[in-house]
């Protein structure tokens, strides 16, 4: 049997993750929709993975410094989002309190 292109496996993960996302997000209570946007924003900054790889590009190769610069820029932007996104979510979630029992 011929080998399956790894792309197909990644595509399978992608499609299944969309379904997971669909069910998980529908179960989020509407009261927490703003924190949901803030936290999805923070986790989408996992794009920093690509930024780190780019920053580590060899400076010896053609285009290496362009990649390093772009990687550094992307890492900085993603870092703003990671720290900002998670901390602001934490701050918001800390405000949601139940009625005090009397």
């Amino acid at each position: 049997m011929e080998a399956v292109d790894p792309f197909i496996f990644y595509l399978a993960i992608f499609v299944l993750a969309i379904f997971v996302g669909y069910y998980v997000v529908w179960s989020v209570t509407p009261a927490l929709h703003t924190p949901l946007m803030a936290v999805t924003n923070a986790i989408s900054s996992v794009i920093i993975v690509g930024a780190l790889i780019a920053a580590a590009a060899s400076a010896m190769t053609e285009g290496g410094w362009v990649a390093k610069g772009a990687g550094g820029l992307a890492a900085g932007l993603a870092a703003v989002n990671i720290f900002g996104g998670f901390l602001v979510t934490q701050r918001m979630l800390a405000m949601y309190k139940k009625k005090e029992k009397k």
Partner: protein, 476 residues
């Protein structure tokens, strides 16, 4: 071996991100969920650093980026006002978009670092093999969606932050312009593939056109449609991440991209449904600009009942049940703390106080809930439209503060009205409606007059939302 272990760690981080969203199903589990998210991010970053084992220069770049970026992010997160949350989220989306463009550019310039091309020794020469076609498609999609997210979010930010008028800007022939740019982007991707990704201007032309279309897509959309726009851009930032996840063959990025993409899409859907508008009509834009002109010009002032803060205080003190309906006006007047104070006073008098929130109240999904939470309103006193709508008929007072279109009974009775069919809060069923509004002149975002103002059981409280509420508190 290392690569396998790294792939597993990325999978763990993806699963932690799923748990982070799962936690948001209730406020009790949400804080733990956020911690899962942070753990997932730490694992993803740690794994990548271990995998690429940076040299000294690279460490310098990475540490500088993380320290500066992280410092700025932490400062913003600590100091931002809760009322400014919509523009903050828009600003954060723009950063993800720009980061995606930068990563795609890096992959284009140094493909061998991303393992999408390799340097081969051919005789005495080092020859770079062309970037794989599939990777070129993925990275150009990532760059294009990222660029649209970037400029689109910048425009959304400017509109939300008041740097730019919230009114729709309608270019003539804008649909034709957008379609032409869209086709040009597709053509550029094809050219890039034919040139095996060796021609630099292909990439930059693609990026610039995508930046332009991001601007053109968002400028025709008006202020109150921003909940849809912000959700949509949230979704785009996810798809951009997913596209680059394929380029990098990184499971954490693919899973996250899919999660964020579907999350944003679902939120856009919920927002559109709450306005009874199709997603397409929101995106095509211009709502209220054309129709609003006619509605506003029929301005014969009809009779209404105006009241003072003391009247309102008197009515509410003698009520047994008060439902508070907040909207964007409460946010812009920063009145949430005064409202809570008023509710506390009423509760001391033995009045049952609840809050009713329309899904599109405010400028982003859940905007009102966050503001009320900030003012220490317990979340179990705050109800969504479906859960509280039939309680208005048993309420003595509906206190509408800064909401307008979402209470307009015309949405149920007038098929001609642009908001016909939109689910509304049935405030008119309450014995008395106290409607706080700055003046009688303005109409709501939809450009429709609100039938509610002229009802016998409505008392208009004209003035600034915060001042009016403060005076009522004094009156109590």
């Amino acid at each position: 071996m290392n690569a396998d272990l790294a792939a597993l760690l990325y999978l763990v981080s993806g699963v932690l991100f799923i748990l982070a969203l799962r936690g948001l199903s209730s406020p009790e589990t949400s804080r733990q969920g956020n911690n899962f998210g942070m753990a997932g991010m730490a694992i993803a970053i740690g794994t990548t650093l271990w995998l690429v084992s940076p040299d000294v220069t690279t460490w310098g770049i990475i540490l500088a980026a993380i320290v500066i970026g992280g410092g700025v992010g932490a400062y913003i997160a600590r100091s931002i006002k809760m009322t400014a949350m919509p523009q903050l989220v828009a600003a954060f989306h723009s950063l993800v978009g720009l980061a995606a463009v930068a990563v795609a550019a890096a992959a284009f310039y140094a493909p061998e670092s991303f393992h999408i091309a390799s340097d081969e020794n051919v005789g005495a020469y080092l020859i770079r093999t062309p970037i794989h076609m599939q990777s070129l498609i993925e990275l150009s999609l990532g760059a294009a969606i990222g660029a649209v997210t970037f400029t689109g979010s910048v425009i959304a930010f400017a509109k939300l932050n008041g740097n730019m008028s919230g009114a729709p800007i309608l270019l003539p022939a804008r649909h034709i312009i957008n379609i032409a740019i869209g086709l040009a982007i597709v053509a550029l991707i094809v050219m890039m593939i034919q040139a095996h990704g060796t021609v630099e201007w292909h990439f930059w032309a693609l990026a610039i056109l995508s930046l332009l279309i991001g601007v053109l897509l968002i400028i025709p959309i008006g202020g109150a449609d921003m909940p849809v726009v912000v959700s949509m851009l949230n979704s785009y930032s996810g798809w951009a991440a997913a596209a680059l996840g394929f380029t990098l063959e990184n499971v954490a990025l693919i899973i996250t991209g899919a999660l964020v993409g579907s999350s944003g899409a679902i939120l856009s859907y919920i927002m559109c449904k709450a306005m009874n508008r199709s997603f397409i009509s929101v995106i095509l834009g211009g709502f209220g600009a054309a129709d609003g002109a006619t509605a506003a010009s029929t301005g014969v002032q009809r009779a209404y009942k105006a009241g003072s803060a003391d009247d309102a205080a008197f009515i509410m003190r003698n009520a047994s049940k008060v439902i508070i309906v907040p909207g964007y006006g409460m946010a812009s007047a920063q009145a949430q703390h005064s409202v809570r104070e008023m509710a506390d006073m009423l509760k001391k008098e033995g009045v049952d106080v609840k809050y009713a929130i329309h899904p599109v109240a405010g400028r982003m999904p859940g905007h009102m809930n966050v503001l009320l939470a900030e003012a220490n309103v317990p979340y179990d006193e705050v109800f969504e439209l479906e859960d509280i709508n039939n309680e208005f008929s048993t309420a003595d007072v509906a206190y509408v503060i800064g909401a307008n279109d979402v209470t307009n009974p015309l949405a149920k009775t007038d098929p001609q009205s642009p908001i016909f069919g939109m689910p509304i809060l049935d405030v008119e069923k309450a014995k008395t409606v106290l409607f706080v509004k700055r003046s009688m002149g303005g109409v709501g975002y939809a450009g429709v007059d609100n039938e509610l103002f002229y009802r016998d059981n409505t008392m208009m409280l004209l003035g600034d939302a915060k001042k009016m509420t403060d005076e009522i508190v004094k009156g109590l």
